[in-house]
């Protein structure tokens, strides 16, 4: 009776193995590891599906055998069997078979490892730096990426041209983080004091979700990222936008009041390129952020063109309302570029989350950013502290930020 039960047990397990193999077919899971969208991830996929298949077949065979044994040799009152101690030839055969299977798996594995480590055909370099709990992207001046004439610094969303072999050179400013865009490649740890490289390449325009995968402290769950692939033409537009001059708010507008508040409350950590102070004697000096005085990692996101990206606070929240976000995420590859380059319009701005963030950031995202922590950490915090802004002040700052395109 128990034997029959065990047979029934094998079936769901076989079913689960099949389900596992089918997991790649699921739709709309943005971090699905079985839906490659570029050649690097495709190489991994080509390597791993046969391995899963072989593992699944071995599993089914073993379970079928066990199920058969459990039924066939159950105690039916037969005499005590012959006390056989084994069979050398069978043992050796059963050692060699898995060894051969593993040789078959090992050879393509090794060759794929070396293919994925190639860096000599790079067409575009992006420096990626992790810190608690967001990613900074810095495009150095280069001939690659279609030519970059001045450094571009952004965060949250990595923007890359399609069909281009991008090399991420990554490191960290505090603890170990791991960079992972499943649709484009496997993950790579970004270790302070070391530079690690990771190849990324996207075939089609679109957004590819990712997440920090090395445990990095309190808000590890809130350290996300997205890779945005644009056609080379759209990428040119994006670069131009990132290098555009500071758009000063119109005099006496809400945004102008917001600018003053920004200078007083935000600019000591967050850089906005082109933001200036005018002294009483008319001298104009640039406003330079100095986050290493206030933050453990010594960095805070550059907000010069905040509203060209779709996310904030470590890509944990969207700057787009859910409806607008759906439109962008579900856009066809042809339409995607134009939609993304629109940036955040006033109608599409997700004010709910942004307001909560400005009201009290550590309450929204766990960070070591309160007064007590500041004392323990020698006067610095990890993450954005609560600024004690009034609702009116928040209105004005949002008005200012909305113009950072």
């Amino acid at each position: 009776m128990n034997g029959r039960r065990s047979v029934r047990r094998v079936l769901p397990i076989a079913g689960a193995a099949l389900a596992l193999a089918l997991a790649g077919c699921a739709k709309d899971a943005p971090q699905d590891t079985w839906q490659p969208a570029g050649p690097n991830a495709q190489k991994i996929q080509d390597l791993q599906w046969p391995v899963f298949l072989v593992a699944g077949i071995v599993g089914v065979v073993v379970f079928a055998l066990i199920g058969f044994i459990l039924v066939k040799f159950r105690d039916k009152g037969q005499p005590i069997p012959k006390q056989s101690h084994g069979n050398q030839a069978l043992e050796i055969t059963l050692t060699i078979i898995p060894a051969l299977i593993l040789v078959g798996v090992g050879i393509p594995t090794v060759s794929t490892i070396f293919e994925l480590a190639k860096t000599d055909d790079t067409q575009c370099v992006v420096n990626v730096t992790g810190q608690q709990w967001w990613w900074e992207y810095d495009y150095p001046v280069q001939d690659g990426c279609g030519g970059i004439s001045a450094p571009i610094v952004t965060s949250g969303q990595l923007v890359i041209p399609t069909g281009t072999k991008v090399l991420v050179r990554g490191t960290s400013r505090d603890v170990i983080h791991s960079y992972w865009i499943p649709a484009l490649n496997g993950k790579k740890d970004m270790v302070p004091g070391r530079v690690h490289t990771l190849r990324l390449e996207a075939d089609q325009p679109g957004i590819y979700a990712g997440q920090c995968t090395e445990f990095c402290g309190l808000s590890h769950a809130n350290m996300k990222m997205e890779a945005v692939a644009l056609s080379p033409a759209d990428f040119e537009t994006w670069k131009a936008g990132q290098l555009a001059d500071y758009a000063a708010p119109a005099a006496d507008s809400d945004a102008a009041a917001g600018e003053a508040l920004f200078k007083a409350n935000c600019a000591y950590c967050h850089q906005v390129n082109g933001l200036t102070n005018t002294g009483p004697d008319g001298t104009v000096t640039p406003v330079l952020a100095n986050p290493d005085q206030f933050v453990v990692s010594g960095a805070a996101p550059n907000l010069s063109h905040l509203m060209t990206r779709n996310t904030f606070a470590g890509a944990t929240w969207d700057l787009l309302t859910p409806e607008c976000r759906d439109t962008v995420w579900n856009a066809s590859p042809e339409e995607f570029g134009a939609l993304y380059l629109q940036g955040i319009t006033a109608e599409c701005l997700n004010e709910v989350d942004l307001r909560e963030w400005l009201r009290n950031a550590p309450a929204k995202k766990p960070m070591y950013a309160d007064a007590a922590a500041k004392e323990e950490l020698g006067g610095k915090v990890r993450g954005m502290p609560a600024l004690g802004l009034t609702e009116q002040q928040i209105d004005l700052i949002i008005a200012y930020l909305l113009e950072r395109k």
């Binding site: 699921a26 699905d32 991994i44 899963f52 044994i69 593993l102 798996v105 995968t213």
Partner: protein, 670 residues
């Protein structure tokens, strides 16, 4: 507890183990105290050096930690049942998964395996105790006090929050300012002492104290696997010890071993940790492999298929286990050559593991299978571990692993190997050996419920994690969001809920075991002497065994000695006939009993010495003066220990020793 026992004239089958102890009065003080002599009551447990009592205490303590670790797991699953969970704060969640892993690995599976090893290795090799009984007691108290010390961090500012792997520099004081990680490091140092002393003790016991005729290749397979594990511990523990010292010097005394701004390389920690950490996974699972390698033959009514291959594959796993640590670091940026080497080495280790699965399967082939609860758990291990092994092959493929590592797919994998492997094996051991340890049978009926609820629960909990992981949900995340959950059959939300429900079903399964134990403890019905018609030496004694284990030390002629004494096999026809019963064999051993048996005497020093260690550790965290006090306790205990003979003088006992009789001693410096 009797300090000295002469073979009772009452037959063992009548439960002679409970015979009235000899009257004992201490005559001489060693060091400061009179030697403890209690044979009953709490003192007989606190100061015991009996491997069986220590084994039971290991088991009880480990079970308590299992429940604590399980509670932590339930809180984790409650948090992740739905999106944006609010059961725990981020800080609490990080402490919870760190302490869950630490508790389950160091305070449940390892000591539970130590419980079985302590209790059954001496019995399986026909010895009266381990080589160093006082060191054995010291090891247990180190484990218990270390575990309690570690858990007091909950009440002193929070548990460790860096993950059980405690990657640097995230575990530096700058990033984890609470004392949790200090407790973690110091607590594991103390439990490490338990593992190291236990390893030396058991290695010497197995190599040196086998009954006459028991050659290495006639040892029961459980003893073999324990031996391999002790060698792994012997060489793995010092490596984590170095890592923990560096951690302590960094956090407490300002060193900069992992401080990147001082030029340190954070990968040093990873290498040290995983050189320990990978052998550690075999330390967890090999004892259970040994347990089911005992159980499958008994309930298949035939010997283990390919005993030599199982022994050698166990040793091969132990050996290869040293060469694969960096497969935990495929995403760490090692460079393609290292990754390729470790990837291939990891595939190699699948071969001896596969050999084991085949041998278990072929042991059942052609057998006469009896589905007792112990057998069900053993078969459960074979099936569940195979799933874990196969998913292991998928991430031995390093590029594939870079997609899977640090996702729930890995969580699924190692729970199928550690829960499906190690824990199911331990439960098989509970049901198999319970009548031997306590003289009563656990209920088979309730046991079957226990098994099926646990297996359904574990597959519901850990099965969906394969899907969640392949869908891209990373580990160690305090919440997940709808935005990244996806839709349809494979959506992360649905399967997270299934896993959470499963975890509570699993908890019910474990609870049924506790109920079974409770019900059994209230039953008065005695277990038969040989309820399973077993094959190895530990069954050739009373249940529970007398304090001196065997009335006379058996001479071993074959693997499965007990079976061969009970049955005769016609070598031409293969026909097996019963020639003797367990009762008859025992009666014969009793008739030939050794007249004068010296057993090691209880001692105050092991527990006192072990008590000094957590005091020193609290001192490291709070005030070095306390460390000095603890140090004095340790030092004095050591001197007391050194001056105390392991066996009390005969004059300590009444009636005095029979000077005319031959003696059988096992006393050593230990």
């Amino acid at each position: 507890m009797a300090i000295i026992e002469r073979p009772s004239s009452t037959p063992a089958i009548a439960g002679a183990g409970t015979a009235a102890p000899a009257v004992v009065t201490p005559s001489e003080a060693y060091g400061v105290f009179k030697r403890p002599v209690s044979s009953t009551g709490w003192r007989s447990w606190l100061f015991t050096v009996d491997h069986k009592k220590l084994g039971i205490m290991y088991g009880v303590a480990a079970m308590v930690f299992f429940l604590i670790g399980g509670l932590e797991a339930l809180l984790i699953r409650a948090q992740l049942a739905g999106p944006e969970g609010t059961v725990l704060s981020a800080d609490q969640y990080n402490q919870m998964f760190t302490m869950h892993a630490t508790t389950m690995v160091f305070l449940f599976v390892m000591p539970m395996a130590a419980a079985f090893a302590n209790y059954f290795v001496p019995l399986q090799i026909g010895a009266r105790d381990v080589a160093f009984p006082r060191i054995n007691a010291f090891g247990f108290w180190c484990f218990l006090f270390g575990g309690i010390f570690l858990n007091t961090s909950w009440f002193l500012g929070g548990g460790a929050d860096g993950g059980w792997f405690m990657y640097q520099p995230n575990a530096n004081a700058l990033f984890s300012p609470s004392h949790g990680i200090d407790f973690w490091g110091l607590g594991l140092q103390i439990t490490g002492i338990a593992s190291l002393t236990g390893a030396i003790n058991l290695i010497v016991t197995v190599l040196n104290m086998r009954a006459p005729g028991m050659k290495m290749m006639k040892m029961p397979i459980f003893t073999w696997m324990v031996l391999v594990v002790q060698f792994l511990l012997l060489f793995a523990i010092p490596v984590i010890t170095v890592a923990l010292f560096l951690l302590m010097f960094q956090r407490e005394f300002g060193a900069t071993f992992f401080d990147v701004s001082a030029g340190a390389d954070p990968l040093l920690w990873q290498h040290l940790f995983w050189i320990f950490g990978h052998p550690e996974v075999y330390i967890l699972v090999l004892p259970s492999f040994g347990i089911i390698s005992e159980i499958l033959p008994v309930f298949s009514r035939k010997p283990l298929f390919g005993y030599r291959f199982v022994v050698f594959s166990g040793a091969a796993i132990g050996f290869l286990g040293w060469g694969v640590w960096a497969h935990h670091m495929f995403a760490s940026g090692l460079g393609p050559v290292s990754v390729a080497v470790f990837s291939v080495a990891t595939m190699l280790i699948a071969i001896p593991t596969g050999v084991k699965i085949f041998n278990w399967t072929l042991t059942m082939w052609g057998g006469k299978l009896q589905y007792t609860v112990a057998m069900l758990f053993a078969i459960g291990l074979v099936v569940q571990f195979t799933i874990g092994g196969l998913s292991g092959v998928t991430h031995a493929v390093a590029p594939s692993d870079t997609q899977q590592t640090d996702t729930y797919y890995i969580v699924a994998h190692f729970h199928y190997t550690i829960f499906g492997g190690a824990v199911l094996g331990l439960f098989a051991g509970f049901y198999y050996w319970w009548p031997k340890m306590f003289g009563k049978m656990l209920s088979e009926r309730l046991g079957k419920w226990n098994f099926w609820v646990m297996v359904v629960g574990m597959n519901m909990t850990f099965g969906p994690m394969h899907i969640i992981g392949l869908q891209g949900q990373p580990r160690r995340m305090m919440n997940w969001t709808e935005a990244r959950a996806g839709e349809g059959f494979f959506n992360i939300g649905f399967w997270n809920l299934v896993a959470s429900i499963g975890s509570f079903i699993l908890a019910v399964g474990v609870f049924l075991f506790i109920v079974n134990v409770w019900i059994t403890s209230r039953k008065s019905e005695k277990a038969p002497l040989d309820p399973w018609d077993a094959r190895s030496l530990e069954w050739m004694t009373a249940s529970p065994p007398k304090e001196h284990n065997f009335d006379s030390i058996p001479t071993v002629h074959a693997l499965d000695e007990f079976f061969h004494r009970k049955y005769e096999e016609n070598h031409d026809t293969g026909e097996v006939t019963r020639v003797s019963s367990a009762e008859e064999i025992l009666a014969e051993m009793e008739a030939n009993a050794d007249k004068h048996i010296h057993l090691p005497s209880p001692s105050y020093w092991p527990i006192l010495l072990a008590l000094g260690l957590p005091i020193m550790a609290y001192g490291v965290i709070y005030n070095l003066l306390l460390t000095a006090i603890g140090g004095v306790i340790v030092l004095l205990s050591m001197f007391g220990w050194a001056l105390e003979p392991s066996v009390a003088d005969d004059s300590d006992y009444d009636p005095p020793a029979d000077s005319g009789g031959a003696t059988k001693e096992l006393a050593t410096l230990g």
